[in-house]
Structures are given as C-alpha cells and as structure tokens.
Amino acid sequence: MDEQTHVPPGLIHFAALDQMLDLARANSLWPLTFGLACCAIEMMATGAARFDMARFGCEVFRPSPRQSDLMIVCGTINKKMAPAVATLYDQMPEPKWVLAMGNCAISGGPFVFPGQYAVVEGVDKLFPVDVYVPGCPPRPEALIEGILELEKKLTGKRRWPVAPAQ
C-alpha cells in the first residue's frame, strides 16, 4: 500500500458536536496557577476586579496540573526550574494548551546575555506553545488578547473583533 490512504479521524464524525466541544473548551479554560516571576503579578491583576478574566471563562485557577488545561507560563524559566516545568506540563491531561506570557517565557527576555548560564531561552525549548504574548510584563489587556487568540485557535472564530488601528 504505497499510496496515501486517507484515514478519517473517527469512525463516526460529529462535526457539530466537535464544534460545540471546542466552544465549551474555549469558554471555560482552567489555568494553572503558575507564576514564576514579575508577569505573575500582571496575571493576578488580570484575574482581579478591573480586568476580570472571569468574563472569558478563565477564572478557575487550579493549583493542581491534573485539574487544569491551560498553562500560562509567566516569568523566567530557570535551568533549575526547567525539569519542574516539564513535569507539570506532562502531568496536565489532554487537551492542554500553553500560553507563553512575557518576554522571558518567549525567548528568555531581558536576561539573555553572553555567558548567561541560568536562564532557559524561552519555554518553547521545553514544550510546544500555542500563544505568545509579548511584553515585559504584558499589560492585562494584552493577556486577555492572548486568551482571545487562544479561543480563536480552538474554535476558529474570535469572540470580539480585533480593534482597528487608529
């Protein structure tokens, strides 16, 4: 059999059910409380009253990785911390998503210099990332935008339209 055989993903294909499941997952992301450094404070501020991540379904921060499906990596990943982060990622059940918040989680941030021995340059060196939110630290509005992008990745549609440039 050397030609490509198209194997359907499931015996029975529920397109509408899949869409509903994706919508449900996108609107009820349960983040892992995983603050490493400065960006954690902005994540807390996003969860607090003014910016209110709960509007988008993200309010249930679970301390246990077994009960969460979104890992918001906020802060610098250290070489000493990297095995712990990888373990947490492995402990999260599927489907799971990763949002790299802040410059340190994207690429090591302001701590990269020749001779830096302690910082892992970006969390995508450890496991795949779905959304990158740049900033040092990103504003809470930027984190919310990142959540909306993740929702778009899940459902194919954006909840709010992107504001036009002025």
Partner: protein, 372 residues
C-alpha cells in the same frame, strides 16, 4: 490483637512544598519533615528564580542595568532602583536636585502602599480568604494608573536616573494623588472591618508565628518583620537618606512578634506613607528634575561604597565596587527577603503546617528578590 497492632509506630515523613504552590509567592520549595500535622523541620530550597542579576551588573553599563533593578523585587520595584541609583550617585559624587528627591520619595511611597496592598490580598489568600484580594487590587490599580501616567510602566518601573528622575510630574498627577489618598483614607475602616476584626483572621494570626527580636538580630531580619517584633529600626529614621529628615512621620512598632503584629505594622505603614506623600506634595519645590552635567556613560571613580534603603520588605542594600570603568566591578544586592526567609527554618519548628504557612505569608517574600 497482635503485638504489632498494639504498638503504635510513629515516624516522620518528608513532604515537598513547591516549587509550584499557590502559597509560596513564586518559586520557593520547602522540604518539610512532618510529624503528622506538625512541622519538625522546614528547609527552604531556593534558586528556582535565579537569573544572575549580580553578574549582569558586571556585564552591563550602569545605565543599562537600571531595568534589571525593577525586576528583582517587582512588587516594590522603585526601592531597588532607588538603592542602586543612590549607590552609584554616592560613589560618583552626583547631587540630586531637590524636586527630584521629592518626586522620588512620592513615587517610592506610592509604591510602598501598592506593595502592602498586594501583600494584604496575597496573605489573606494564603489563609484562605479570597475577597480582600479584589478590594486591595482595586486600590492598587488606582496607584498604578498614577504611576503609569508619569513613568509609563505598571509594574517594572525604570523611572529613576543617575541624578534625578527622567520625567517631571504634572498637575494631573498631583491632584490624582491627593484624590487617591483621600479615597484610601475612607477605605481603611472597610479594611479593618473586613480583615482586622474578622474572627477567622484573628484566630489564624493572633499568637501565631512568633519571631523574637533576638532571632531577627541573629539572622539579619528587617522591615515589618523586625518592627512587628518590637524593634524600632527603619532606615528612613535611623540612617536617613534623601529628604526623609524633612518629613514628619512615625514608625509603627508592635511588640507581640506574631503574624497580627506584622499585619498591623504594614497597615499602619500605609497610613504613614500617605502622610509622607501629602507632606512631600505640600513641600514640593520648583526646579529641575535632573542634575546637570551627568555624563551619558557614567564612570564613577575607583572605590566602593554601600547604600541601603527601606524597601517595603526590609533593608535593601547595594554594595558597589567600581574600578573606574563604565561597568561595575562588583555589584552586590542585599535582599531583605533573603534574610527574612533564612529565619523561617528556626521559627517554624513544632508548628502546625497551616500556622507555618501563615508565618511564611507574613514574612512578605518575593522569591526573585531572594534568588536575584
């Protein structure tokens, strides 16, 4: 019943707390040896947030290191910058104009209030009460709005420069600050009714986590941890710097040494900070906000000096060794949380785990400040 079933065996077990844990305020790991619910030994393991700021101090020019200072103790970022900038100014012999000193004090004290508000919210979360966080963050957002209007940042400010500050403050900032102070004064009775007089908070904190003053002296504890143990030491009064000698304020000191004392110190410090800000706004002189003739590439003369400031968490010290070039030869950052955490092992022996966590929360730790 068999002999084995009749004899009760007791053994301790090792429990790992962290480095990912909602109550450790960052990446702190504590190896707990537990005897049931009682802590026999609590050994903190740090280094999970280590980013080698001190090496970067040697690799970057003095000005390029300024953003790093804000990222150590990011909750009270301006104090770290203040300590670093003043150490360099002390070595280089730069005099800061009066208006800039007043602006530094105003912004630093606003940052102190923001830091204490965040601590109150986080401490109550550690104890299990989520509600105060929402109120304190609301007040904190007002402060961040004010600081954002002049510094451009919400959390990691890079506002002070060698010789002054980079932006002047305007009328909008001054009137906004006065309005904020009036608002916070009116909110304090609400905080006291919600938290201070709350029966659960009182039972969780009164008499819990005693830290004797002698332990603080042996370990180098400072800040509200020290003042909650009866020692009236505050760098702003005992080793004054900037324009603090011209201002009239008290240092709250409580004798009980428990978590409640440390909480009350911080609540009173917020009120004192508001007094300091009001006096500074009243006394604010006109003038430049940057010293003249500060070279762009600063090369302080050879030598070393020390400068310490009273950060929201304790004494933040900078020991700077210069070899005459544009990069520091050695930059030692003395972190208050480092010494405050080192006394945790001694003080938590024999406590219930929940009480040990209340003690840990009352120390007000920011782990990247410890790990630098």
């Amino acid at each position: 019943m068999s002999i084995e079933a009749q004899t009760i065996h007791r053994e301790t077990f090792v429990l790992n707390l962290g480095p990912q844990h909602p109550a450790t305020h960052g990446v702190l790991r504590i190896k707990l040896t537990m005897n049931g619910e009682y802590v026999e030994d609590a050994d903190p393991v740090i280094g999970y947030g280590h980013r080698m700021q001190e090496k970067m101090g040697e690799n970057r020019t003095y000005a390029k290191f300024l953003p790093n200072t804000a990222r150590m103790d990011y909750v009270a970022a301006l104090f770290n910058t203040h300590g670093y900038v003043c150490a360099v100014e002390r070595l280089a012999g730069i005099t800061v104009p009066d208006r800039a000193e007043y602006i530094r004090v105003i912004t630093a004290e606003l940052n102190r209030i923001a830091s204490h508000l965040l601590w109150v919210g986080a401490f109550l979360i550690d104890l299990g009460g989520f509600t105060p966080l929402l109120y304190t963050f609301d007040d904190r957002e007002q402060i961040l709005d004010l600081l954002e209007s002049i510094t451009g940042a919400r959390l990691t400010f890079c506002y002070y420069r060698f010789g002054g500050v980079c932006n002047d403050i305007d009328e909008q900032f001054i009137s906004g600050t006065r309005a904020f102070i009036a608002r916070l004064h009116s909110r304090m009775p609400m905080y006291h009714a919600l938290i201070t007089q709350n029966i659960i908070f009182r039972k969780r904190c009164e008499g819990i986590g005693p830290i004797p003053a002698e332990t603080c002296r042996k370990y180098g504890g400072s800040g509200p941890v020290l003042r909650g143990s009866g020692v009236s030491y505050d760098v702003r009064k005992n080793e004054p710097y900037s324009i603090y000698p011209r201002l009239d304020f008290n240092i709250p000191v409580y004798q009980e040494c428990d978590c409640t004392a440390r909480y009350k110190v911080r609540m009173d410090e917020m009120v004192e900070s508001m007094r300091i800000i009001e006096q500074s706004l009243d006394q604010l002189p006109a003038g430049p906000v940057m010293a003249e003739k500060v070279p762009k590439l600063l090369k302080p003369p050879k030598g070393d000096c020390y400068f310490n400031v009273e950060s929201a968490r304790g004494v933040f010290g900078v020991r700077l060794v210069s070899d005459g070039t544009d990069k520091a030869y050695r930059l030692k950052l003395r972190s208050p949380c480092f010494s405050n955490l080192s006394l945790f092992r001694d003080c938590s022996r024999g406590m219930l785990m929940a009480d040990a966590l209340a003690l840990l929360g009352s120390l007000d730790l920011v782990i990247p400040d410890i790990d630098r």
